[in-house]
């Protein structure tokens, strides 16, 4: 596997004056996978992805993309990668179709961008000026521009920030589609749910360092995070009858609210059986799966929001 790495980052370091934005991080991205750089704002995601794109010059370490050095061999590399930047824009009065036509012409090979318009749901706005597009339309246009020359690696920085939930889901489907075409995707996000849904593997960044690396499932499992069941009870609950269940580790009761912590997938069945067997009435029953948020909390002692640098 390791020898099929299309992106290799080794001991990458980047400082801005007194700030060490990226502090000797290392990881590899395999061909065909969706790799996520995740972490709170200020963690160093953008700096890392832009070093891979060749937009920023590392202060230390090594970056290799498709066997090329993005700084010295950018001319050979740029036609083979496509990117969407966290901060960029187009000319206000440039129309959607003109942007695609222009960007397509900047690459040696000619590409038919018309299907891309349809595919990204931009066909109806093909004559709309950039400044008049909604946030979601702009994001989709930038995705289209990142794909217009059929690159091998697609790099997406905070793709869904600023989108409403519906727009976000649309973009998720899009990314799954891109992967189906055999492309490698590197993305950054500070939405953990997004990373769990999309990424094959993630690197969790905090203050410029990688604090965890692996598939979201494996990270959640390895860190031994528990599932939770939350429900409201009408009469007093016999705590022991639930706490003694094999899959349950801990029971909290706060007022008429019960929170049951435990491990296996059997926990829900066991708890429901125990409650109904004892004749307890309960409502608002829901389960909470452990998430990358919990992983981050466990690893850093801070929640994602607390982790944000001003």
């Amino acid at each position: 596997m390791q020898n099929d790495a299309v992106v290799t980052v080794a001991d990458l370091r980047k400082v801005y004056g007194p700030v060490t934005a990226v502090d000797e991080i290392s990881f590899g991205v395999q061909r065909g996978e969706i790799f996520g750089l995740i972490g709170p704002n200020g963690a160093g995601k953008t700096t890392t992805i832009e070093c891979i794109e060749g937009l920023r010059r590392p202060d230390g370490g090594r970056v290799e993309v498709l066997g090329l050095d993005p700084q010295r061999e950018g001319d050979s590399l740029r036609p083979r990668i496509g990117g969407q930047l966290q901060e960029s824009a187009l000319q206000d009065r440039l129309r959607v179709w003109e942007a695609l036509d222009l960007f397509a012409s900047l690459y040696g090979k000619s590409v038919d961008w018309e299907p891309l318009l349809d595919h990204l749901g931009l066909a109806a706005s093909r004559n709309t000026a950039f400044a008049k597009l909604s946030g979601g339309q702009k994001q989709r246009l930038f995705v289209a521009l990142a794909l217009v020359h059929d690159p091998e690696i697609v790099l997406l920085d905070e793709l869904t920030t600023g989108l409403d939930p519906q727009g976000r889901r649309g973009v998720w489907e899009l990314i799954a589609d891109i992967r189906k075409q055999g492309k490698t995707i590197v993305l950054t996000t500070h939405f953990m749910e997004e990373a769990e849904r999309l990424c094959d593997r993630v690197a969790v960044l905090d203050r410029g360092k990688i604090v965890a690396l692996g598939s979201p499932e494996a990270l959640i499992r390895e860190l031994g995070e528990e599932s939770r069941i939350v429900f409201s009870i009408e009469a007093g609950l016999d705590r022991e009858s639930v706490a003694n269940l094999p899959s349950v580790t801990r029971v909290e009761i706060i007022g008429e609210r019960a929170i049951v912590h435990g491990h296996s997938e059997r926990m829900m069945v066991e708890v429901v059986n125990a409650l109904s067997g004892a004749g307890f009435r309960f409502r608002d029953f829901r389960t909470e799966q452990p998430s990358l948020e919990d992983v981050f909390l466990r690893l850093t002692g801070r929640s994602m929001q607390e982790g944000e640098e001003a």
Partner: protein, 247 residues
């Protein structure tokens, strides 16, 4: 190469969508013409060496268009492209930074030339504009004048931290120059001492060279202007390249 042509074509279309740019480049010189032509006409006059008001003013109004393009359009748009992140996005493509600059210069150069051409045609049709020089010499003076001022526009964009600052600096350079360089008010109308001071304004030399070429004088009679403008062009290009930033 195909990309560069496409980029120029796009820039030209964008120019046509900015009514303000089109107005100041193409329409405003005509307004100057009809305004002054309407008041003074273009009768031969000893004060202008046997020529008319319009004959001696066309060169200055052309310099006015050049200054507008350089200090109002180019300086601001180059800084705005950087500030808004347009250059950042282009940087991910195989396009070189020189191509981005070249496209902007080329389009503005053509538009500015168009402004001059419209002015000349209208002056010819309405006021019987007299012309004793060679078209080639005028075109050369226009090219040297425009490119040297454009390079200064890029210097403003390169040194200004934001588009807003570039706009202010552009105006601070633009307004004194259009009034004191002879572009709008003939230098003859100024007192002797002032006429020497205004030589430090780059645009004064554009006006001088263009007017000389228009009146059929040889470039040899305008070596100072040619030297100053060539020097500005070289220095301007060097500083622009040095201060060029993608973001």
């Amino acid at each position: 190469m195909r990309g560069l042509w496409k980029l120029m074509w796009v820039e030209a279309k964008l120019f046509s969508r900015e009514p303000m740019l089109g107005f100041f480049t193409l329409v405003f010189p005509l307004m100057m013409l009809f305004c002054f032509g309407g008041i003074y006409g273009n009768e031969p006059n000893d004060y202008f060496g046997g020529l008319g008001m319009v004959d001696v003013s066309v060169a200055g109004w052309t310099a006015l268009v050049i200054a507008t393009s350089a200090f109002m359009s180019l300086a601001v748009s180059a800084a705005a492209y950087r500030e808004q992140g347009i250059l950042r996005r282009l940087r991910l493509t195989p396009l070189s930074p020189l191509a981005v600059l070249a496209a902007q210069v080329a389009v503005l150069f053509v538009m500015t030339g168009l402004g001059m051409l419209l002015l000349i045609i209208a002056a010819k049709l309405v006021y019987g504009l007299r012309f004793d020089g060679s078209a080639l010499s005028v075109a050369g003076a226009f090219a040297l004048g425009a490119l040297s001022m454009f390079s200064l526009g890029f210097v403003v964009a390169g040194l200004a931290p934001t588009a807003r600052v570039a706009q202010v600096v552009g105006m601070v350079l633009f307004f004194p120059m259009i009034f004191l360089s002879g572009a709008t008010i003939p230098l003859q109308a100024m007192q002797g001492a002032i006429r020497n001071y205004v030589k430090i304004l780059p645009l004064t030399h554009v006006v001088g060279l263009l007017r000389g070429a228009w009146l059929g004088e040889s470039w040899g009679q305008h070596l100072t202007e040619v030297a100053v403008l060539s020097g500005l062009l070289v220095v301007g290009v060097l500083i622009s390249l040095k201060t060029f930033r993608w973001e």
